[in-house]
């Protein structure tokens, strides 16, 4: 029981929107499509749903070829970035709309609508129209519509992007609970790595119409297959610098020398690209062997519990993200420490080697 994409590709004229892609999404799984705007998330979702047809390749659902089956015959529901509801229906009728098409009995419709409304805490709003609701409530209604019928596939296309911070956090916490215990395959597109990490499940990193990596979220995060996957799955962006390994030392540009650290131990000598996530660059020295960075502070972003510091090191910008408040003056000279044991090493072709 699964949704299988087999060598799916989408070309429009001379442009390739999706390069040949194969994915297997098992029943009951929660999958995140992570990528920047225009990376192909929406196109891929629409192909999964049957709203767009792939140029080549096959889509199978439970072993059956559904490539050319129309969306309305596929038992799919979708939630969009915009809050899409029928404007002249009440919340109740909006939630009930997919069931009415299915010609269900009134009592059954009522039972299901009430269950969905309770899950999304919409009970008091059932008689209102979408224009009388806040953005958060409108999106809750849209999500209720998506879960009210037992869809095989539920697609959420950046559903939280248009909500303000607080509502986004609130709904983000509730989402996994809504889908737990359902047999549906859930696909959730987002541009934010933190959402993928919060939801767990599986994550596919997308870059320019290509799925660069797909697997359990934590392993995609910890063990990126290549440079691009690591870049997509890092916010703030991952720091990168060319290094040359010589014995137990790393030679950096500008003559700096760092200890090689545990992750580089098995590598043969030679040139690599070193990737360091921002939270492994800290103002306080770690216990393990560390590399040192000295430079001029460009920007500091201090949130309540976190400091993000952008440092100019000989023309290259390094980003550090650390717990606590570390006030640095912009323009001042600063010294940061790199937890080199956590370094990711990539070969010249982008593939991760350690």
């Amino acid at each position: 029981m699964a949704l299988e994409l087999i060598e799916i590709a989408k070309r429009v004229g001379a442009d390739t929107h999706i390069h040949p892609t194969s994915l297997v999404l098992p029943q009951g799984s929660f999958n995140v499509l992570l990528g920047t705007t225009l990376s192909g998330k929406t196109t891929l979702m629409q192909i999964m749903a049957g709203i767009q047809q792939p140029t080549s390749g096959q889509i199978r659902f439970n072993g059956r070829d559904v490539t050319h089956v129309a969306v309305q015959k596929r038992n799919v529901s979708m939630v969009y970035q915009q809050f899409i509801n029928y404007p002249n229906f009440t919340v109740y009728d909006n939630i009930a709309s997919p069931l009415k098409v299915a010609a269900m009995s009134k009592a059954e419709i009522d039972r299901r609508v009430m269950a969905a409304a309770d899950l999304l805490r919409l009970r008091p709003m059932l008689k209102r129209r979408p224009s009388e609701l806040s953005g958060g409530q409108q999106q809750r209604t849209a999500i209720a519509r998506a879960i009210v019928k037992d869809s095989d596939l539920i697609l959420l296309d950046e559903p939280l992007a248009n909500l303000d911070y607080k509502l986004r956090e609130e709904l983000r916490d509730e989402l996994p609970r809504l889908f737990a215990g359902r047999n549906a395959i859930v696909v959730y597109a987002t541009t934010e790595p933190v959402e993928a990490l919060l939801f767990g499940g599986g994550t596919a990193t997308l870059h320019e119409g290509r799925v660069t990596q797909f697997g359990p979220t934590s392993s995609v995060y910890r063990e990126p297959k290549d440079l691009v996957s690591a870049q997509v799955f890092s916010d703030p962006p991952i720091n990168m610098t060319p290094v040359e390994k010589r014995g137990s030392q790393l030679q950096l540009l500008g003559g700096k020398v760092w200890p090689a650290g545990s992750s580089a131990r098995s590598l043969s000598d030679g040139r690599y690209i070193l990737g360091i996530r921002p939270h492994h660059v800290t103002p306080l020295p770690p216990e393990a062997p560390a590399g040192e960075l000295e430079g001029r502070v460009l920007v500091t972003e201090l949130s309540g519990s976190e400091s993000v510091i952008h440092l100019d090191v000989g023309g290259a910008t390094w980003v550090s993200q650390s717990h606590g408040i570390h006030p640095f003056e912009v323009g001042a000279h600063a010294r940061l420490h790199v937890d080199i044991d956590r370094g990711l090493f990539f070969a010249a072709n982008g593939e991760r080697v350690s």
């Binding site: 309305q72 799919v76 969009y80 915009q82 002249n88």
Partner: protein
């Protein structure tokens, strides 16, 4: 806390007040002056109270032109609003044809009113006009200078030709503003084209349609130039609408008092009907 009270802020409203006064209130007051007084020139005025209003409200000619006006405006709205909406629904939303279509449909809006009148005047001539001769060639007797039905047909057709584009452009703008995701969501739900129109497009166009109805109502209720050029209110007085009647009273008969009372009644009717349309169409919102 000490609060300083002063009214200096009122000075900031003064420019707007002056502008409104000069372009609306002062001219309107002139009309009000004439409507409640009698004058024989020499800048001498005598109080006449509500005499002119009573005269106008009991005037059979006024009643007849008001009836004609209501029928004309009703016909125009019944034809132009659905027609404009229907054409807007058929227009392409993207691609190279969009700008071509938009320019073509906008053309009638660029033609001056008196030119529209002359155009249709010539077009509908029974002996040489394309329309007039064409209809006669079909075996249907058509002469808009003699037959009231032909005159009405031509006047309504002219207005539809001139102003459907406005409704169309408003509806088109409203349709283009509906996000694609709505259509996709409908598709996912398995909704057909009628359901999409009924439950997505129509509710989303409600505000635009309200504006279109109001604009077309007010404008058609005040129609003058085109009809004067086309039929002059004839044959007889079968196409004499309110504004034509008003001008005849004010300039033809020089009955300034009754004409001023007429203007005010005319204005109040438009105000009332606009309010009525607006409240009816916005009723849903208030619930």
């Amino acid at each position: 806390m000490n609060k300083t009270v002063n009214n200096k802020a009122w000075w900031l409203v003064l420019p707007v007040f002056l502008m409104v006064a000069f372009n609306a209130l002062v001219p309107l007051m002139t009309v009000v002056n004439y409507s409640i007084q009698e004058t024989f020139g020499n800048n001498e005025f005598f109080w006449s109270g509500t005499t002119w209003f009573e005269q106008i409200l009991h005037d059979g000619e006024f009643h007849a032109s008001l009836r004609r006006q209501l029928v004309f405006t009703g016909l125009v709205l019944l034809i132009e609003i659905p027609l404009g909406l229907a054409i807007a629904l058929c227009m392409p939303r993207q691609g190279p044809w969009v700008s071509v279509c938009l320019v073509l449909v906008a053309l009638p809006l660029l033609v001056p009113w008196n030119v529209v009148g002359s155009m249709w005047n010539i077009m509908a001539l029974p002996d040489i006009g394309l329309l007039g001769k064409g209809i006669n060639a079909l075996g249907i007797p058509f002469n808009y200078t003699r037959q009231p039905i032909s005159a009405w047909f031509t006047v309504v057709l002219m207005d539809v030709w001139h102003w459907t584009s406005l409704v169309l452009l408003l509806c088109y703008a409203g349709l283009v503003a509906i996000p694609d995701a709505y259509y996709q969501a409908a598709k996912v739900d398995g909704a057909g084209p009628w359901a999409v129109f009924r439950h997505i497009q129509l509710p989303k166009l409600k505000h635009v349609l309200t504006i279109a109805v109001l604009l077309r109502f007010m404008d058609s209720f005040m129609i003058y130039t085109e009809v004067i050029v086309l039929t002059g209110g004839g044959p007889g007085s079968t196409t004499k609408f309110l504004s034509i009647d008003l001008v005849q009273k004010a300039l033809g008969g020089f009955d300034l008092g009754p004409a001023a009372a007429f203007s005010i009644v005319y204005f109040l009717i438009i105000l009332f009907l606009s309010w009525l349309f607006y409240t009816l169409m916005m009723r849903e919102e208030a619930r």
